[in-house]
C-alpha cells in the first residue's frame, strides 16, 4: 500500500510544518513527535522567499526558515534521517520555483528515495500540471490537487484527474465561523465523491478539537497548519514536546469517530 493510502486508512490528521523553522534539526524532532502522537501525514513546507498563497503565520515561518538557510538539498537529507525512526507519510508543500531550479527529474527521484509520496504546489494549478507530471508519474509521486468551491465545473474537472488525495480549501480567510460553511462543504464533498475515489482532506485553519471532531466527520481527513506553526514559532527548539501534546489532543478528537 502506498503511503498516502496508508495515511487515510482511518480518518486522517495531516499536520503542516515549515521545514527549517527555526532549524532542520528541530524540524526532524517535531516530525518524529508528530508521528508518535498519532499524526497520519506530515505536510512539510519548503521555504520560499515569496509565499503568496499562505497565511501571515506561515509566511513568517517561510522567512524564519530561509534565515536558517534551509533549501531542498538539506531538507531531503533531514527526511532521510527521519526515515531511520519513522515511515510516517510525508508530502512536500513547495512553490514551483525552488523545484524548477533544483531540477524536476532530480527532485522527484529524491522524493522517491526518501519516500516522499506527494507534492503540494500552491502555484501550479490544473492548467500547468504538465510542468511536472511526467516526472511525478515516473517516480510515483502524487501531485496533490487543490479544490476551491467557487466553480463546480472546475471542481469536477480537477477531481476527475486528481491523484493521492484532494486538498479541499472551502473558503479562504473565513476562519471565524467555519461551521457556517457546513452546507457548502458537504455539497462540494458530494460532488467530489461523485467524480473521484481518492480521499478528501479539508484545510482551512482548523485548529481546535471541536473543529477536528466536527470536520473529520464529513471529510476523510483534516489538515492542521497555522496552529502547529504557531507552536513552533513560540517554543522554537523546545517545540517537539509541545507539538506532541497538541497533535495527540487533536488526534484523539478525531479518533472518537
Amino acid at each position: 500500500m502506498n503511503n498516502i493510502k496508508k495515511a487515510f486508512e482511518n480518518k486522517a490528521l495531516i499536520g503542516f510544518l515549515m521545514a527549517g523553522d527555526p532549524d532542520l534539526n528541530t524540524t526532524k524532532e517535531v516530525i518524529i513527535s508528530m508521528a508518535k502522537a498519532g499524526c497520519d501525514m506530515v505536510e512539510l513546507g519548503v521555504p520560499f522567499s515569496d509565499p503568496i498563497a499562505e497565511s501571515s503565520v506561515v509566511q513568517s515561518a517561510n522567512l524564519r526558515a530561509l534565515k536558517s538557510e534551509t533549501y531542498l538539498k538539506s531538507i531531503f537529507d533531514m527526511i532521510k534521517e527521519v526515515r531511520n525512526t519513522t515511515q510516517i507519510s510525508i508530502i512536500l508543500h513547495t512553490y514551483i520555483n525552488p523545484v524548477f531550479n533544483y531540477g524536476y527529474e532530480e527532485f522527484f527521484m529524491k522524493c522517491s528515495e526518501v519516500n516522499v509520496c506527494g507534492i503540494v504546489v500552491p502555484d501550479l494549478p490544473y492548467e500547468e500540471k504538465s510542468e511536472i507530471k511526467e516526472y511525478a508519474d515516473k517516480y510515483n509521486v502524487d501531485i496533490i490537487s487543490f479544490v476551491v468551491p467557487e466553480n463546480i465545473d472546475r471542481v469536477k474537472m480537477i477531481a476527475k484527474e486528481a491523484t493521492g488525495f484532494i486538498y479541499f480549501v472551502p473558503s479562504i480567510g473565513s476562519t471565524s465561523s467555519m461551521e457556517g460553511h457546513f452546507k457548502e462543504i458537504t455539497n462540494i464533498i458530494e460532488v467530489l465523491k461523485e467524480n473521484t475515489n481518492i480521499p478528501i482532506a479539508l484545510g482551512f485553519g482548523i485548529n481546535t478539537t471541536q473543529q477536528a471532531e466536527f470536520f473529520s466527520e464529513i471529510a476523510d481527513g483534516i489538515i492542521v497548519g497555522n496552529a502547529i506553526v504557531k507552536i513552533v514559532e513560540k517554543y522554537g527548539k523546545n517545540s517537539p514536546s509541545q507539538v506532541f501534546d497538541y497533535v495527540k489532543t487533536m488526534k484523539s478528537a478525531i479518533k472518537i469517530k
Binding site: A53, Q59, I96, N101, P125, V169
Partner: protein, 394 residues
C-alpha cells in the same frame, strides 16, 4: 506556442483559488477587445482624458549635441498623470466596469501605476486600494499623498523586501481573498495570462502612434526603438508594432543599480535566469535555490526582480536586445535631458535616455532613434537632489 504563452514563457502559475477569476477575465477580455462600444469608450477616454495621441518630439538640441543619429522622444510623460501607465489603467478599469466590478486593487513601485489606477478609479467611480512596499512609500511619499488625494487607500507592505515584488505578493493575496467585486489592475506586462497580453495590447498604442508619426515626419522607419524595462510595460508598448519591422532594432534598458558586478542591481536580463514566479515562467533575479533575490535600483519603477514573459521570448529569439544602465548613468541622463531639452524625465525613462546618449554618437546622421520617454520626472526631483547630496523638503 499556446494562447497563454510566448514560446516557452508565460503561462498561468497561480493558486487554484485565483483560476476561476482569471478565466473570467480571460473571457471578458476576449469579448470586449472586439466590442465596438468598449473600444469607442476607451478611445474617447484616451483622447479626451489621457491626452492621446502623445507627441513624437524631435530632440534637436540633444541630436546636435551628440552629433550622431536623430533622436525622437515619444512623450508619454505628457499623458494625464504623467506616464504611460494611464494607457493600460484606463483599459483595465473600463474592463472592470464592464465586468460589473465595484472595486479595483493594484500594486505600485514608483507610484506611477498606483496614481494612474487611483485616477481611473476616481473617474469611473470605483473603489480603489493600492499596495506599495513600505520602502517605496518613503521614497515616493508625494505619490502616496497623490493617491490618497484621489480617494484611494494606500497599504504599506512590510513583508519581505518591502518593494515592488512584495507589493505584487500582497495585492495577489488580497485578490485571492476577494475577487467577486474586485478587479486586480496589474501594472505591467507580467503575471499570469491574460495580463501580459492585456497590458501589452493596451500599451501598444504607444508604438501604433509612434510608427505612424515617424513615417509621417521622416518618411521611413527608425533604426532603433528603445525604452526602459522593469516589468516591461512601456517597452512592450513601444516595441510591439515594430516587431514585424525586422530592420528596426529593439533595445530594452534595464536597471544596473550600482553595477551588474555588485549585488545591488535589478538587471534581470543580464544577470537573471529562467524561473517561475508571480504567475509566469520568465527570467528572474534569483539564487541557485530558486529564491527570488532582493534587487536594487535608484528607480522604484524598475526595482523588480523579473520581467514580462514576452520580453523573455523576444530576448530568446534574438528579436530584442537588453542592456544594463547604472544609477549614475541614469542620473546623468536625468540631468542632461533637463538641461539640454528642458524636459525632466522620470528616473525610469532616464535609463533609456542614458543608453541613447551612449549609442547615438556611434550612428550615422541620417539614422533615427526613438526613445520612449515613459514618464515625467517631477516625482524624482527630491530623490535625485539627495543623490547629489542636497536635501530638499518635498
Amino acid at each position: 506556442m499556446t494562447k497563454t504563452r510566448f514560446g516557452k514563457f508565460g503561462g498561468q502559475y497561480v493558486p487554484e483559488v485565483l483560476m476561476p477569476e482569471i478565466k473570467r477575465i480571460e473571457e471578458a477580455y476576449e469579448f470586449y477587445k472586439n466590442d465596438k462600444k468598449f473600444n469607442e469608450e476607451l478611445n474617447s477616454l484616451l483622447a479626451n482624458y489621457a491626452g492621446r495621441p502623445s507627441l513624437l518630439y524631435f530632440a534637436k538640441n540633444m541630436t546636435e549635441d551628440l552629433n550622431g543619429a536623430k533622436i525622437y522622444l515619444k512623450r508619454e510623460d505628457l499623458n494625464h498623470t504623467g506616464s504611460h501607465k494611464i494607457n493600460n489603467v484606463l483599459g483595465q478599469a473600463l474592463l472592470a466596469k464592464y465586468m460589473g466590478k465595484k472595486r479595483v486593487i493594484a500594486e505600485t513601485g514608483a507610484g506611477q501605476h498606483g496614481v494612474a489606477t487611483a485616477t481611473a478609479a476616481a473617474l469611473l467611480g470605483l473603489e480603489c486600494e493600492i499596495y506599495m512596499g513600505l520602502e517605496d512609500t518613503i521614497r515616493q511619499s508625494l505619490n502616496v499623498y497623490r493617491m490618497e488625494l484621489l480617494g484611494a487607500k494606500v497599504h504599506a507592505v512590510t513583508f519581505g523586501t518591502q518593494t515592488l515584488k512584495d507589493a505584487v505578493n500582497e495585492a495577489m493575496k488580497e485578490w485571492s481573498k476577494r475577487s467577486d467585486d474586485t478587479m486586480y489592475l496589474l501594472g505591467s506586462v507580467m503575471g499570469p495570462y491574460p495580463y501580459p497580453t492585456i497590458v501589452r495590447d493596451f500599451q501598444s498604442v504607444i508604438s501604433k502612434e509612434a510608427r505612424e508619426q515617424i513615417l509621417h515626419i521622416e518618411g521611413k522607419l527608425p533604426n532603433i526603438v528603445m525604452a526602459c524595462v522593469g516589468g516591461g510595460s512601456n517597452a512592450m508598448g513601444m516595441f510591439y508594432n515594430f516587431i514585424n519591422d525586422k530592420d528596426v532594432r529593439l533595445i530594452g534598458c534595464e536597471a544596473a543599480g550600482l553595477g551588474v558586478d555588485t549585488d545591488k542591481h535589478a538587471a534581470t536580463m543580464t544577470k537573471g535566469s529562467i524561473g517561475i514566479f508571480h504567475g509566469m515562467k520568465s527570467i528572474f533575479c534569483q539564487n541557485k535555490h530558486g529564491q527570488i533575490a532582493p534587487v536594487y535600483s535608484i528607480s522604484a519603477g524598475l526595482d523588480y526582480p523579473g520581467i514580462g514573459p514576452e520580453h523573455a521570448y523576444l530576448k530568446e529569439t534574438g528579436r530584442a536586445e537588453y542592456v544594463p544602465v547604472t544609477d549614475e548613468e541614469a542620473v546623468e541622463a536625468f540631468e542632461y535631458l533637463s538641461k539640454v531639452e528642458g524636459i525632466i524625465p522620470a528616473i525610469e525613462s532616464s535609463h533609456a535616455v542614458a543608453y541613447a546618449k551612449k549609442i547615438a554618437p556611434t550612428m550615422k546622421k541620417d539614422e533615427i532613434i526613438i526613445v520612449c520617454l515613459s514618464g515625467r520626472g517631477d516625482k524624482d526631483v527630491a530623490a535625485i537632489a539627495k543623490y547629489r547630496g542636497r536635501i530638499i523638503n518635498e
